[in-house]
Amino acid sequence: MSTAKRPPLPVILLANDLLDGEVVFWTGTHWSPEPKDARIAHDDASATALEGAAAKALSANVVVDAYLVDITTDANGHGVPNHYREKIKTEGPSVRRDLGKQAGLYNIVRSGT
């Protein structure tokens, strides 16, 4: 977990799967490659819980580069990152719409626990 200051709420927790590199989202119980599965923390207590999940997964060697990302919820209640960087990270390369999550292509063999 980076020591950077917590982004503004609401936030989600994302990371890369250690073994496969896939961008994964913390659902509250496990890591999912699907952005829509991300657990959204609307208050400080839930954000702290996400930070706890990140620390645990990092030390258990399940994921790397875990951090909180500030989002806005869309019409379906899913979190969409506010920053363009995290948006691209969540979707896949903007110049290759045929690749990455946006194309339903996942790079993951087993999902994290």
Partner: protein, 555 residues
């Protein structure tokens, strides 16, 4: 080209086994990420935005057909069917899984390739003039020197933990096509008054956050002294270079802080202390390396190839491609053909596995089984008989690789930027694509003539934007991508860092901004004057005025 001997082969295999073990230890938790990261980086494995990335060394940009086919296979089997050539002439795969990397490294070792020292604070892949061995203005082929440095610097125990990364480039020609003055060490092979061959040694160049042009610290270094002298430079830097601040750790900062003269003095003092003959490579080994780069058995051909001339007369598209993408070969009847990886709308430097196979076949049949990767992210077939060029170009047309734009405004260098790179502050590829579309018209490109646009997605400058005639740097401004434009950079022997034209512009405004700059050139150039020549003559002012002229019409 160079072939591994038993020592090279063993070293690479041992390294694969070592990395396989390191990955296993990372997965079972014996290695933490902090411990593992420097190890994976030393083997070319990065973690990028969407996935891991594997960077494969292509020493001095030279590849055989067999090696390119193996890259095609790796791309297909372990990646998404394509790879990306970088400005360091390396190949990057964007989607490998960490679990597969040891197998990929084994496949690379099968064809005498590896990822060693493609990252980390060590001596990186040595680059050289991509027209090495074929340029008429060449004093000596730079590749035996580059290969010698590769061998000397590979896993060199003293220089494995430098303050920062270290890049070396070599040119053997008058005209610098290897951007040597933008390297930590640039070497230029030259002849002294006595007719002996040696090196001009330049130190402290580099792009990135603090761009600098390298300074000459030795105007003539006898050939045999090369390794001892490099050792002296590296030792001075290794001992005295800054380790307290990552941004001040490159040798360029040290050269700048103490001055080139003082730096040279310390290097010479160290050089005098060293046991030169003990460090110098065994002449037999030097000869063994050089033999691999001996001139191939050229056929005696007429300078004027009748088949080639006839094909040009009959086929306009071929004639255009031939006038733009061919480089004059020192041997009559031959040409070096540039395969542009800059098709209009393509991601610069990207190539699919299918295309790699076609190019490998062409190299095998028509170019003595050899190809070159250029720092401008293109491929060169170095030894094509002129009479074979038409067939070669027709095959390239079929796979979308016959774009006639080498050196023109749409032959844009662009780093992967934020579409892939985790360090990026903005995207690069979409800017390159938009510019390529804007200037796609072939006639207009030819009318504009030689113009290098170079784009980086962050201050690290992998896209060489500082030395682009027009440089574009992607930054973040108030949560939006913003592009800073520089003018007057030069990557050749007249190396220069471009100057900023004004405030950054949003992505959508970049094509218009470039258009305004180009218009100034077209309006004010004298007969035969290239873009960069006009910029030098006119100075920044007229371009700046045009750049800033943008009308801020209310929406």
């Amino acid at each position: 080209m160079y072939r591994y001997d038993e020592f090279d082969a063993r070293l690479v295999r041992e390294r694969v086994a070592q990395f396989r073990d390191q990955v296993a230890r990372r997965l079972d938790g014996s290695l933490s990420e902090d411990e593992f990261k420097p190890l994976r980086l030393k083997n070319g494995v990065y973690l990028q935005l969407h996935a891991y990335m594997l960077r494969i060394a292509v020493p001095y940009g030279t590849l055989s057909s067999r090696q390119l086919r193996q890259l095609a296979l790796i791309g297909e089997k372990y990646d998404r069917g394509y790879g990306h050539f970088t400005t360091r002439t390396n190949m990057q795969f964007n989607w490998p899984r960490l679990r597969d990397v040891p197998e990929i490294l084994d496949l690379l070792a099968d064809v005498e390739m590896h990822c060693i020292q493609t990252s980390g604070n060590c001596i990186r892949n040595v680059t050289a003039d991509h027209f090495a061995g074929i340029a008429a203005d060449e004093i000596e082929d730079p590749r035996p020197t580059a290969e010698l440095i590769r061998q000397w610097s590979s896993l060199h125990p003293e220089f494995d933990y430098l303050p920062r990364k270290f890049k070396i480039a070599v040119t053997g020609a008058e005209h610098d096509r290897a951007v040597v003055r933008a390297h930590d060490i640039g070497l230029r092979i030259l002849r002294n008054a006595k007719g002996e061959i040696g090196y001009e040694v330049m130190v402290g160049g580099g792009l990135g956050r603090t761009p600098m042009i390298a300074k000459t610290i030795r105007s003539f270094l006898p050939k045999a002294d090369l390794l001892a002298y490099l050792e002296a430079v590296l030792r001075v830097y290794n001992l005295e270079g800054r380790r307290d601040n990552k941004y001040k750790a490159r040798v360029k900062i040290m050269v700048h802080e103490i001055g080139a003269e003082e730096f040279a003095r310390r290097v010479e003092a160290e050089f005098a202390r060293l046991d030169g003959p003990a460090i110098a490579a065994d002449p037999e080994e030097v000869a063994r390396i050089a033999a691999y780069f001996a001139s191939p058995a050229y056929e005696t051909l007429p300078a004027r190839a009748s088949g080639f001339e006839a094909a040009k007369a009959e086929n306009r598209a071929f004639a255009t491609w031939a006038s733009v993408n061919l480089f004059t070969h020192k041997v009559p009847g031959y040409a070096a053909a540039v395969i542009s990886l800059k098709g209009i709308g393509d991601a610069p430097g990207d190539i699919t596995s299918a295309q790699m196979r076609v190019v490998a076949d062409l190299a095998e049949t028509y170019s003595l089984d050899e190809l070159r990767i250029t720092h401008a992210q293109n491929i060169v077939l170095p030894y094509v008989k002129k009479d074979d060029l038409f067939v070669v170009s027709q095959t390239l047309v079929e796979v979308g690789l016959a774009t006639a734009n080498a050196g023109l405004i749409t032959d844009i260098i662009a780093c992967p930027g934020l579409d892939y790179c985790s360090l990026a502050t903005a995207r690069s590829i979409p800017i390159a694509q938009a510019l390529a579309h804007r200037f796609a018209d072939e006639k207009r490109q030819l009318e504009i003539g030689e113009l290098n646009i170079k784009i980086s997605g962050c201050i690290n400058a992998c896209g060489h934007h500082h030395v682009g005639h027009i440089g574009i740097l992607g930054l973040e401004k108030s949560g939006q991508e913003s592009y800073q434009i520089t003018l007057g950079g030069d990557a050749t022997e007249t190396a220069a860092i471009g100057e900023i034209l004004g405030p950054g512009v949003p992505a959508d405004d970049v094509p218009d901004a470039i258009e305004r700059i180009v218009s100034v050139y077209l309006a004010q150039r004298t007969s035969g004057e290239t873009f960069i020549e006009a910029v030098r003559r006119l100075g920044l002012a007229p371009f700046k005025a045009a750049f800033l002229e943008k009308t801020h019409a209310p929406a």
